[in-house]
């Protein structure tokens, strides 16, 4: 399986998020496993405070679709599991 380095993955995700006017503070990656147990990559888009509502609908979906497509086109073999988290939000809240 071919993989891109972390910097390249983040660069692609940042460019997609910017193209879709997603207001993000940072983008982080972490290793993950997909449903078949294969290596995957978690891409966390940390949203600026108060911006979560603005991505609902096409903006979020378009960002996910383009991250998947552009990483696949760049030869990334790991499936990207994109997650959004508003800066300062805590899980389960």
């Amino acid at each position: 399986m071919s993989t891109l380095n972390e910097e390249r993955v983040i660069e692609i995700a940042k460019s997609v998020a910017a193209e879709n006017n997603v207001s993000f503070a940072s983008i982080q990656t972490a290793p993950a496993l997909d449903s078949s147990g294969s290596e995957a990559i978690e891409i966390k888009i940390v949203l600026t405070p108060g911006s979560a509502n603005s991505i609902m609908g096409e903006r979020s979906a378009r960002t996910i679709v383009e991250v998947i497509r552009k990483l696949a086109d760049a030869g990334e073999g790991r499936f990207p599991i994109v997650r959004y988290e508003e800066q300062g939000a805590s899980a389960g809240s």
């Binding site: 497509r69 696949a72 086109d73 499936f79 389960g92 809240s93």
Partner: protein, 161 residues
């Protein structure tokens, strides 16, 4: 008995995403995926036997012939700009149907984490985004041409020898 109503499943997901417990958020994400899954099963079985045959055994057979792994595998093939390892592609490509496939594959993975990974946490925003992604994907599928929809559904239903 008609098949599950995808919109009802998404409304159920909305309700769960408004609850405070992490179990509810997990179930919300799962319901968002299942809304999408039952949407595509209905589209496939409707294509084969027609929506007016939804209460027949043959309709149920077509409906139940598609499992999650089959959908996931097809969605993987449509991840990049150029579909990989599919026996045919519509003349103008898959268009918005490919985007539907990308979201379907993504929500399948998210749903697996929500259902089975105790170490993964979820926020209410994450659940609400997943539900909105499911709704958007269904809209995209409906915006595909008849040829694109039928090509995707045929690839989902039938496998070449």
């Amino acid at each position: 008995m008609p098949p599950p109503d995808p919109e009802h499943l998404l409304l159920q997901a909305d309700s769960l995403a408004a609850q405070p417990h992490h179990e509810d958020l997990r179930r919300a994400i799962s319901a968002a995926y299942y809304g999408l899954f039952h949407f595509v099963l209905t589209a496939a079985a409707d294509m084969v036997f027609g929506a007016d045959r939804r209460s027949t055994p043959r309709y149920s057979l077509a409906y139940r012939s598609i499992d999650h792994s089959r959908l996931r595998a097809l969605c993987s093939k449509l991840g990049g700009t150029n579909p990989q390892d599919v026996p045919f592609v519509p003349a103008g490509g898959f268009g918005r149907i490919a985007d539907f496939a990308r979201i379907s594959g993504y929500l399948y993975e998210l749903r697996n984490l929500a259902d089975y990974d105790p170490s993964r946490d979820f926020t209410a925003d994450e659940a609400r985004v997943a539900i909105s992604d499911a709704r958007e994907a269904i809209t995209w599928f409906q915006q595909g041409s008849q040829e694109q929809q039928e090509a995707f559904l045929a690839l989902l239903l039938f496998r070449p020898r």
